[in-house]
């Protein structure tokens, strides 16, 4: 019984992944059920919306039916029908403008925020220097920065990228600080015991341990960047999906407003998936540790 090999066999059963098998359903049928569940709710909303709008319960222009919006969105993108009027075919320009601002703001805000957050977590001196300022400023809503940023930068890309980056900055700071602080004491001791010097400790122990939290911060930063790009494009710059949405609102083109909203929602979702994809590539081990892995 004392043989290491006998131990291994018992342990192998423990370590094998547990498949929960659902009875009476093939894999194809299960996938179909899942798909139906995914589309059931949005499908029902669209159908009811279509019926209410077509039946004439209210004026079509206030809340156009999904089919009208689909046509307008098609024309916004391709410009071949003329349904979107003066906005026809302008989608890709606005989208590229918004995407560029989101990624520029995310890059400086998320990058600088992560760096500062790690330093605050690592050094008591940096913490004393910057943490009180961060804690106060993060309670100022980013929208409150709009007047000052317009005065400093004027109308254009600069205030937009400034505001988006500012929004992305704070979640990155807080989460990367947390990532450093939550390092397991035993792992720190183990690193010291193995003989790790300070730089080895940082690179091989502290930073890998902080990475899940850093990625959580960056995911929140990306979400906030999409909120703020719309705010910035309504108030500080004359292009982008937020501008399109606001301009169409001024001209009572609610179909274009909703098409813009839909575009922002889908692009925001895709950007979130990119961050999640990168995170899952970097953190395969972390999925194993957590419940939903």
């Amino acid at each position: 019984m004392s043989d290491a090999a006998t131990l291994t066999k018992d342990d192998a059963a423990l370590a094998a992944p547990v498949e929960i098998e659902r009875r009476g359903q093939s894999a194809g049928a299960r996938r179909l059920t899942a798909l139906l569940l995914y589309i059931a709710f949005p499908g029902a909303v669209l159908v009811i919306w279509q019926i209410l709008a077509s039946a004439g319960f209210y004026r079509r222009a206030i809340l156009p039916p999904p089919t009208d919006i689909a046509v307008v969105l098609f024309d916004l993108v391709f410009g071949s029908l003329g349904e979107a009027g003066r906005y026809s075919g302008s989608w890709s320009d606005h989208t590229l403008n918004s995407l560029w601002r989101v990624f520029a703001g995310f890059a400086w805000g998320g990058g600088l925020g992560t760096l500062l957050g790690l330093l605050i977590g690592l050094s008591r001196v940096v913490e004393k220097l910057f943490d009180p300022t961060v804690q106060v400023l993060r309670n100022v809503p980013v929208t409150a920065w709009v007047p000052l940023s317009l005065i400093f930068f004027g109308i254009g890309n600069q205030p937009a990228i400034f505001l988006i980056g500012l929004g992305a900055f704070f979640p990155a700071v807080l989460n990367s600080t947390h990532g450093v602080r939550q390092l397991n004491r035993t792992l720190h001791k183990a690193g010291q015991m193995m003989g790790a010097n300070q730089s080895e400790m940082l690179v091989r122990v502290i930073l890998p341990a902080a990475l899940p939290s850093v990625m959580t911060g960056l995911r929140l930063s990306m979400g906030i960047a999409w909120v703020l790009v719309v705010v910035a494009e309504i108030l500080a710059v004359r292009s982008g999906l937020g501008y399109l949405l606001n301009d169409a609102y001024q001209f009572y083109r609610n179909d274009v407003v909703i098409a813009s909203m839909l575009s922002i929602g889908v692009l925001g979702f895709l950007c979130d998936r990119i961050v999640v994809f990168v995170r899952d590539r970097l953190l395969e081990w972390n999925r194993l540790e957590s419940y939903d892995g």
């Binding site: 290491a4 423990l14 370590a15 792992l187 183990a190 193995m194 003989g195 081990w285």
Partner: protein
């Protein structure tokens, strides 16, 4: 292989709630390749003693030496196996075991320990080399942690309740496994445990500690033949020794409880 020497070691913890005399005038010598187990009720300072030898804590009195050298900080000459296996969750089993070898401090040492592949086989984890710690059972994790310490070839092995978090059956198997490893390749071992059965089974000598303040109450040699196997635990000699030690530890625990109660009363008065 090294020897450990503690001379009049004291450790006082100061905090806002007051001073705690964790260790007082502890003298202890552990010879080269000797297996010493430290037992005692909780709060008697046995983990503190181990932390001092490991270099995680500094004594407030006396000296701790390993091979004549004053202990100042943790280092790879004193390998530690923790109760909660200290595996890095982001590294595979193989990379965890190889962690120490990649550090500058160990590249400059001459290591006579086993290679990563040898030790993976020896601890029965060759098939799990590319698994992450989260995919292992408690016993496997602890074997991986022991393997990671053995490859950096420490002169002293310090173990702080290494099997305390395992179920009774796995713990018993791990004791046999450790015994075999040690009999194959002897090292100086200092094992802290609250499991008296485990201490008698594994050690050459038992250090029984008493609390308030933490001190060495008695040192009991274990004159049981080696190599030892599981059946030994049913021998009258083993049982007699275990009961003897249990009685001392229980007496001390009862005294400590009485002191604490009296302390509370006098504080109230």
């Amino acid at each position: 292989m090294a020897e450990v020497a503690l001379d009049k070691v004291g450790k006082v913890f100061e905090s806002r709630s007051g001073r705690v005399n964790a260790l007082s005038a502890v003298d202890l010598r552990v010879a080269r390749n000797e297996f010493v187990a430290i037992v005692g009720a909780s709060g008697c300072g046995k983990s503190t003693l181990l932390n001092l030898v490991a270099g995680f804590e500094h004594p407030t009195g006396g000296t701790v030496r390993v091979d004549g050298k004053l202990v100042e900080r943790p280092g790879p000459d004193r390998g530690v196996v923790f109760q909660q296996s200290a595996l890095f969750p982001w590294l595979t089993v193989r990379r965890n075991i190889a962690f120490g070898l990649g550090l500058a401090a160990n590249r400059s040492r001459t290591l006579k320990g086993p290679s990563v592949d040898q030790i993976l086989k020896r601890v029965g984890l060759a098939a799990f080399a590319n698994h992450f710690p989260a995919q292992l059972s408690g016993g496997m994790r602890q074997r991986a942690a022991i393997a990671g310490v053995l490859v950096i070839d420490p002169g002293v092995l310090l173990m702080d309740e290494p099997f305390g978090a395992l179920d009774a059956l796995t713990r018993s198997l791990m004791q046999d496994f450790l015994l075999e490893l040690w009999e194959e390749n002897r090292k100086t071992v200092l094992l802290v445990t609250h499991d008296i059965n485990e201490a008698v089974y594994l050690a050459d000598r038992l250090v029984i500690m008493a609390g308030h303040p933490g001190r060495v109450r008695e040192i009991v040699p274990v004159d049981l033949p080696r190599p030892r196997r599981y059946a030994l635990q049913a021998e009258p000699e083993f049982i007699r020794l275990r009961d003897h030690v249990t009685r001392i530890v229980r007496d001390e625990a009862a005294k400590a409880a009485a002191t604490e109660a009296a302390g509370v009363e006098s504080a109230a008065a």
